[in-house]
Symmetry: C2
Subunit: 338 residues, 2 copies
């Protein structure tokens, strides 16, 4: 089969690889319908994460179940499924508390930018749609598998709700879908921090009521001006740098909540900032599996249209161009068709 | 009047000072009945906080109202009052959300290790008891003004509740009263981390079900062993160092809560630890004012006896010895009588 392989920073090639086979009785193999490039894939692409050897890429996926191991009960061949980027048993105490991405049997899922994918712990990781979805719903269902699920978790972690003012740090796909999530959860006011006209427009389409172009402490000051000097009730952090984390913490009022989902890179949070800010801080890899049934339902009913974050679609063979387009910020998010 | 003054690290003297007077119409001046030495007073005593000039000390206090400014309505001369270490208006949006220690008009209160104290924003800071309390209740009421209120907030921040396993990092007075708070809030299991026999005994008296003597990562391993490998649901951090913060974070299960109240010193939390631990982190200076009515009620009813943390009582004139005893860990907490 064909698969995207990252050989080194900036070097992504589509090559032949063996088609994955079942390894455990709890595995499924799926034929991919669509995958995409994640903001987190750009960390190794830009050399910010170490790459010791060529690596198959991709952890956001929808597809058709091809075969299942003997112990798999909840999905069967021929079904359309939406996946999660961490495989989870969905039965352990941590999963049952809603943290499937912290499952005691958690395994990373990788290699979804390809034709086929082996998914461990299929029962606890995949969710089948009630029937074969219309082709037009595929991009939104794909978004649910990570970028929407992650924005959703960020909004939950930030305790977004009716009557609250929410600020969103980061105008990538996750930040933008954090705006959508905040709107769905009834936020009164949603402030998107962005200096790109196209992303500002999409943020407004997803429900942003205000745009702040300033960054860092100037951005914090602007948020404070917009919130009577107090700061936002809820702040979604969707970048993962020291600057973005401090921006999020400082833009939050005392007693407010920061939900952070940007994968942390070189972040060291000063204890005194946390201590005197009085914020709640929560985040990490999103437990997408928890939200999939709800998100799939919202998408199939047409209540949300997260697919708008995909502003470029390419065949899998052009994966290298997909990475380039996202790296150069020519595209917000690229969908790949095997 | 007589007052304890810190001149330099290790150098506390009791000297004559002018008796404080009303400065604002919202002030009260109280005649102190009792005060004490806080764990946080030891930071400058040990040279860990900078001391630019001689400083009056003490921020935990109970006393009798001596005089009040023209705008003070809720307390009056002759009443016995319990104070908070941050003065707050108790009417702003932050106060109403329960974060009086983050009040937009917040002012530090200092100089309680003395005969008289000026308290700003008296209506929002002091709580009067229904009647003059028995002398035997004075130490417990004094504890409410900081060390109990802080342990209480830590337990709230750690989302302690029925059915939960709670671990407490730090066996100072705040940690010990965190144990008491956890017991009051219905925790199923309370693990106190301590290697001092006297503190272990008091922890058990306050409700600890288990004692862990190991520290750092060895302590974390022990907590994990006691919790089926998962970590505690709730962890109270009552020290404020890098080691204690990481100990608390690592001892908490995915999705669990860390309540941190140790004043942060040289703490820089690695973003990746926070990201992958999936914990909720919340803390800071306790909004004691929020809890005072409830805590005073529990104390006057005899439901809790926080005064047990005071294992030494001295006249104000011996403040220097009080600091020495706490610094050398000969005493858990010292009560001072003016």
């Amino acid at each position: 089969m064909r698969a995207a392989i990252m050989h080194a920073p900036g070097d992504v090639r589509v090559e032949d690889r063996d088609r994955p086979a079942l390894q455990q009785p709890t595995d499924a193999v799926i034929k991919l319908v669509a995958a995409c490039v994640c903001g987190s894939d750009l960390w190794p692409y830009r050399g910010a994460d170490t790459l010791n050897e060529p690596r198959t890429m991709g952890h956001e996926y929808v597809g058709i179940v091809e075969e299942t191991g003997a112990d798999v009960k909840s999905v069967k061949p021929g079904q359309f499924v939406v996946g999660s980027f961490f495989a989870s048993d969905n039965t352990c105490e941590i999963c049952r508390s809603g943290y499937q991405s912290g499952c005691v049997h958690r395994q990373g899922v990788g290699g979804a930018q390809a034709e086929y994918l082996r998914v461990p712990l299929a029962d606890g990781t995949l969710v089948a749609t009630p029937e074969m979805p219309d082709a037009g719903k595929v991009p939104s269902l794909l978004a649910a598998s990570d970028v929407l699920g992650t924005g959703w978790f960020a909004a939950k972690a930030a305790e977004v709700g009716p009557g609250k003012t929410v600020a969103v740090v980061g105008d990538g796909a996750v930040g933008l879908l954090g705006v959508l999530a905040a709107q769905q959860m009834g936020a009164e006011r949603i402030i998107a921090m962005s200096r790109h006209a196209d992303r500002q427009a999409l943020a407004r389409e997803f429900g942003a009521t205000d745009i702040v172009e300033e960054r860092g402490e100037a951005g914090v000051q602007k948020i404070r001006e917009l919130t009577g000097g107090l700061g936002a009730h809820s702040v979604i952090e969707a970048v993962g740098t020291q600057e973005s984390m401090l921006q999020a913490i400082h833009a939050t009022r005392a007693g407010g909540h920061v939900g952070f989902v940007g994968v942390s890179h070189d972040v060291a949070l000063p204890g005194r900032d946390l201590f005197y800010s009085h914020v709640h801080l929560h985040g990490g890899p999103a437990p997408v599996r928890q939200y999939l049934p709800e998100l799939i339902d919202l998408i199939l009913r047409g209540d949300i249209n997260p697919e708008k974050v995909f502003d470029l679609e390419l065949p899998l063979e052009q994966a290298a161009e997909a990475y380039r387009a996202m790296d150069e910020r020519r595209a917000i998010k690229v969908l790949l068709r095997p």
